[in-house]
Symmetry: C2
Subunit: 217 residues, 2 copies
């Protein structure tokens, strides 16, 4: 457990949210775009109500910006070992969503659990490439994205989590309170920001990449 | 991202909370008690309002039960590298809380980040001992406890997280909503249970250890 910032987390001066992040320009050094579990599985109605319906369009913009500059990009694909999972290989849910589908030459990294660092060569691959800065987006904010971001930060990577390029789902908390997807998402971001990563929005990331985003050739 | 259980997380039949866990007896095979960051640092008022004020007494009961049976126990100590942290070594906050202080012969494992598995030999130590079952308690539920439990589950350990032997602090979420410590705690437990661990209460753990708890000799 790391100390709270000064002012601390419940100080009246801390309002949460992206406003303060938008003030300072980001400095991204050879950032790797790490996309998590953006597969058709997540469109299955069993997942319930989601938030950030525009996340996929935002992710496409990020991907285009990375492609236009030939910056490194890694598509993490969930190969669920659970028979009942919508992410199980061999069915349509396992396929990448169209908005985030890899193109030839892009790295696809398969995982079987939540964190993209466990059971994979992700850490070794990043270290070998000298990649220390990660820009993370995907699904779900509170599950595989969060597990991956917590590990990435603890492993020493500089992590930027793109709030509007992630989404999650409504659920009940441990006391049975039904939380909307926005509430679940917002609790995760607050727990992650400043401790494991810096939470940003896509506009700040795109601005940091140097202005107008050109589509891929 | 792993598939939701059937019924899924927002199904009306899922109420959250410990009631359903109390129904089935736990089966604990040579469980290791893993206590996280239970140091005086956390009593500093800068952390804000906490929940589960009885957690330390509950942790003492767990420790006594483990000692009485000479089951394995690991005290994870946070050695914060941050100059302003209440957990920085060399000050009173770095000391273990009296209710959770190790006795000679118990393992003390130092860490410098949130997850007890990063920068430590915890995984290797557990594997060498053939320890596959972890019972986790400590502070805070939503930070070092959660980071450690997520990794433990993903690494393949069977993890039981003791809800009433953990605590956390009030904070604002990313949209600025002030959440009580109970709300923060309950959101974390819901995100963890069934995905990275099984959330239980101390009574169920103590019952699984075999009845009356004897104090250490």
């Amino acid at each position: 457990m790391t100390a709270p910032r000064v002012p601390d987390a419940v100080d009246a001066g801390h309002t949460g949210g992206p406003a303060s992040d938008g003030d300072a320009a980001l400095r991204l050094v050879n950032p790797t775009l790490l996309l998590i579990d953006l597969q058709k599985a997540v469109d299955d109605p069993s997942w319930g109500a989601r938030n950030n319906l525009a996340a996929e369009r935002t992710i496409t913009r990020l991907l285009q910006a990375w492609r236009a500059r030939d910056l490194p990009r890694i598509h993490v694909r969930h190969d669920s070992p659970e028979p009942a999972s919508t992410y199980r290989p061999g069915q349509v849910g396992h396929e990448f969503k169209a908005e985030a589908a890899p193109v030839p030459g892009e790295v696809v990294l398969a995982k079987r659990t939540n964190s993209a660092f466990i059971g994979t060569d992700l850490e070794a691959r990043l270290l070998a490439a000298g990649a220390r800065t990660l820009v993370v987006a995907g699904v779900s904010t509170s599950n595989s994205v969060e597990a991956t971001v917590r590990m990435a930060g603890n492993l020493g990577f500089e992590v930027f989590l793109v709030a509007d390029a992630c989404f999650t789902f409504a659920r009940r908390d441990w006391s049975g309170r039904l939380r909307t997807a926005d509430e679940v998402h917002d609790m995760s971001l607050a727990n992650l920001d400043g401790e494991y990563c810096t939470v940003v929005d896509a506009e700040a990331v795109l601005a940091a990449l140097g202005g107008v985003v050109r589509p891929a050739q």
